[in-house]
Symmetry: C2
C-alpha cells in the first residue's frame, strides 16, 4: 500500500511527433521522429487553466510523483511536493512531467534507435539545448490541447527550463518558479560538467560512445562523474552533519587504500548505483545542454531576456548553502526581472543542505509553493477540476 497522500500508481505515457516534418534544433540540426515520455497527476479542469509543468534536473526523469509498481521502494523524485493536499495539490491542479530529450528515461536521446541506421544514435545524436528541451515540451502541451500553463517549475536544470519558458514563450505561461538555478551557467559549473565528461571519455569502455552492443559500459567513468557531481550537491555543513569524519565499519584507520570514511562509502555507493540507472552518453548530452545555457548571451542583457515577460509572475527560490548555484545568481536574476517590470517574489531560504535543499526542505517549500499557488488560483480565478467519476 502507498502512503495516503500519495498519487499512487502512475502510468508513463508516450507522445511521438516530428514523424513527417523534422523537429528543428537550435544547433541547426534536426530530429525525426521525437518521442517524449510523460506522466500526469490530477485532472485538467474545464477551461484547461490548472495545468502545471514540472521539469526535472540533470539526473532526473519525468517520473516526478507516485509509483510505477506496487513494490517500488521509492516514489517519483518530487513526490514530497506533488499529490493530494501537497504543495502541487493534485485535487486542484493537473501536473504534467516529462523526461527531457537527450537523456535516457524514454524520451528520444542517444540510446534511441537512429532510423537512418537502425542502431542507437550514440554520439551521432545531435547536441540539444535547454531551448530544444522546452520546444519539445511545447509540442507535448499542444498535443494535450493546453494553450497556457498556470505554472512551469523545476530546480537546477529544471529551473533553467522554467526560465527559458518565461523568456521565450511568456504568453503561454502564467507563472514560473525557478528553484536553485541560474540564468547563465558559470565557468565553475562548466568546469564540473567538463570533469565529469572527461572521466567518461577516459574510460576505455566508453569507446567513442559506441558501447550499447558491447559487453561492458563505461561504468567506472560514469561513477566518477557522478561522484564529482554528488559532492557539489551537498554543503560542507551537510557533510559534517551526515558523515563527519566517521569511519565505516571500522574503529581505526587501516592505513591502506580501502574505503575507510563513511563519506567515501556514500560517494562510491552513489556513483556505482548511478551506473545502473543512467546512461553515460546521456550524461554528456545533458551536461552539454547545461553548459550552453546563457540567457544573457542570447539577449545581450538579462533585462532584455525578460522584456516580454512582464505579465509572468515569478517566484524565485534559492538556498543559502547552495554553492553550486549560489544565491547571488538568483539575486541577479531577481534584479533583472524587477528592472524588466515583472512581478517577482524572491526567497533565499536559510538551509544547510546545499544544492540538494530544493528536494529536502519539504516543509518550507510546501508552505512557500502553496501560498504562491493559492495567490495564483485567487488572482486567475482557477476553478478546481470535476471530481473523478465514481
Amino acid at each position: 500500500m502507498f502512503p495516503q497522500n500519495s498519487i499512487g500508481l502512475v502510468q508513463p505515457q508516450y507522445f511521438t511527433f516530428a514523424e513527417d516534418e523534422p523537429f528543428q534544433l537550435e544547433s541547426g540540426a534536426s530530429l525525426s521522429p521525437v518521442t517524449l515520455v510523460y506522466e500526469t497527476y490530477g485532472r485538467l479542469n474545464a477551461d484547461k487553466s490548472n495545468a502545471i509543468l514540472v521539469v526535472h534536473a540533470l539526473s532526473g526523469s519525468g517520473h516526478a510523483a507516485g509509483y510505477h509498481a506496487e513494490d517500488d521502494d521509492k516514489p517519483g523524485w518530487w513526490d514530497d511536493c506533488i499529490g493530494p493536499g501537497k504543495a502541487f495539490d493534485t485535487d486542484q491542479f493537473f501536473v504534467i512531467s516529462s523526461s527531457v530529450i537527450g537523456s535516457c528515461y524514454g524520451s528520444t536521446g542517444p540510446m534511441s534507435v537512429d532510423p537512418a541506421t537502425g542502431k542507437p544514435y550514440a554520439l551521432r545524436f545531435p547536441v540539444v539545448t535547454i531551448g530544444d528541451m522546452v520546444n519539445a515540451q511545447i509540442k507535448l502541451l499542444d498535443h494535450l490541447g493546453i494553450e497556457k500553463m498556470l505554472c512551469v517549475t523545476g530546480g537546477s536544470m529544471g529551473g533553467m527550463q522554467a526560465l527559458e519558458w518565461a523568456a521565450h514563450i511568456p504568453d503561454r505561461v502564467v507563472s514560473v518558479i525557478p528553484v536553485a538555478t541560474t540564468a547563465r551557467h558559470s565557468p565553475m559549473l562548466i568546469s564540473f560538467s567538463e570533469v565529469g565528461r572527461q572521466a567518461i571519455y577516459a574510460d576505455p569502455y566508453w569507446n567513442g560512445g559506441d558501447y550499447y552492443d558491447q559487453p561492458h559500459k563505461p561504468d567506472a567513468g560514469l561513477a566518477v562523474a557522478r561522484m564529482v557531481g554528488h559532492i557539489t550537491y551537498l554543503s560542507e555543513e551537510s557533510m559534517h552533519q551526515k558523515f563527519g569524519r566517521r569511519l565505516k565499519g571500522r574503529e581505526r584507520f587501516g592505513y591502506e587504500f580501502q574505503t575507510e570514511f563513511e563519506v567515501e562509502s556514500y560517494l562510491k555507493y552513489n556513483g556505482n548505483n548511478f551506473t545502473r540507472r543512467f546512461d553515460a552518453n546521456s550524461y554528456l548530452y545533458v551536461t552539454k545542454a547545461l553548459d550552453y545555457f546563457d540567457l544573457v548571451e542570447q539577449h545581450g542583457t538579462l533585462v532584455s531576456a525578460f522584456e516580454h515577460s512582464t505579465q509572468v509572475k515569478f517566484l524565485v527560490i534559492s538556498f543559502t548553502s547552495d554553492w553550486l548555484y549560489p544565491s547571488y545568481h538568483s539575486k541577479e536574476l531577481v534584479s533583472a526581472l524587477t528592472a524588466a517590470g515583472a512581478d517577482v517574489t524572491y526567497l533565499d531560504i536559510e538551509s544547510s543542505w546545499g544544492h540538494d535543499a530544493f528536494l529536502l526542505e519539504v516543509d518550507t517549500m510546501t508552505n512557500l509553493l502553496g501560498s504562491f499557488l493559492d495567490r495564483l488560483v485567487r488572482e486567475e480565478g482557477i476553478v478546481a477540476p470535476e471530481p473523478p467519476i465514481g
Copy 2:
C-alpha cells in the same frame, strides 16, 4: 639570466637515514632506508637561529625557489616569497625546503626501489601521514645540526605540517605560519580526495599500482583527478575573471563534444600537464595523508592539541574566497590557540583568488610575512649570517 632578486641556480641535496634502524611510521609499519631531497637558500648564522623550514602542498616539491638550470622557464613554487629582499629574505634567513616522503620528487615514495624486491614499491609502499612527513623533516634538521627552527611555514598541506610541528614538537620551533589550511581535514576535503583516487583506480593502466615497467601509465585517471583538484583551488569569481564563458579559438558553439570553453581548455591542459610531472601512486599516498590529518581526534580537542605550544608564536592566514579551506577553519584554529594561551596573530585576507591565493597574493603576503619575521628577529635577537666569502 635570472631576475636580480632571484636566489639563482640551486642544487638539490640528498640526505639518507634509517639505513640501520628503520624509520617508524604512525601506522606501525617502518621504512628503511629513507631519503629526503632538499634545497637550502641563504646561509645559516653563527648560532643557527635563523633557519626557516618551508613545506609544500599536495602537488608541490622541495624546489621552492630559484632555478635548477639556466634554461628553466619557471622558478621554484614559492620563488615570489623566497630570495634576497623578499619576504623570506635570504640575506637574513637560512631557508630549507624538502620534498615530503610518499611523493615523487626525489624523497622516498612509491616510485622508489623497495630494497626487499629490487623493484619500485608501488602500492607496497606503506601509507604515510602528515606526522610521518614531519618526523622525516626532523631527521633532516638533526642532520643539519639545527636544534630550533625560527619558523616553519607552508600553505594547504604545508600548513598542516606547520601545525603538526607546533602541536608535536613545540620546543623545536619559535614560530609557525600555517596558511590556507585546517587542523582537521573535513568530509568535503576527503570527498574531493576520494574522487581523485577513484579516477585513478578506474584507469585500467593503473593496474593496481604496478605500472612503472609498463608502456602506459594511468595518465587519463590522474588527469581527471588533477582537474577535480584544480577546480577546488579556484573561486567562482576568479574563474569569471580568468575565463568567464569565453570560447577557445572559435566564435560560436560547435554543438559537438570538443573543448569549446576556455575554462575547459585550461583544465584539460593542466590535467594533461600534471601527468608529465606527477606520479599517480604518489597522488594516492599524499591525498591519503591529507585525509588522515585531524589534530582534534588525536588530542580530544583542538585546545589540547596546542596545550604545550604556548611558547610558539603563530601567524595564521586564510583567504576570504577559499572555499576548499574556508576561513572559518582558520578561525576555529585561532580560537583554540587563543584558548590554549598561545601568541596568535590572525589575518583573513580579502582575495578573490580562492585557495590559490596563497601563491598569488604576493604583495599582501610579502608585507605580512615580512613584518611578522621582523618582529621575530627583534624579539629573538636574530643576527644576520656572515656575508658570503668573496
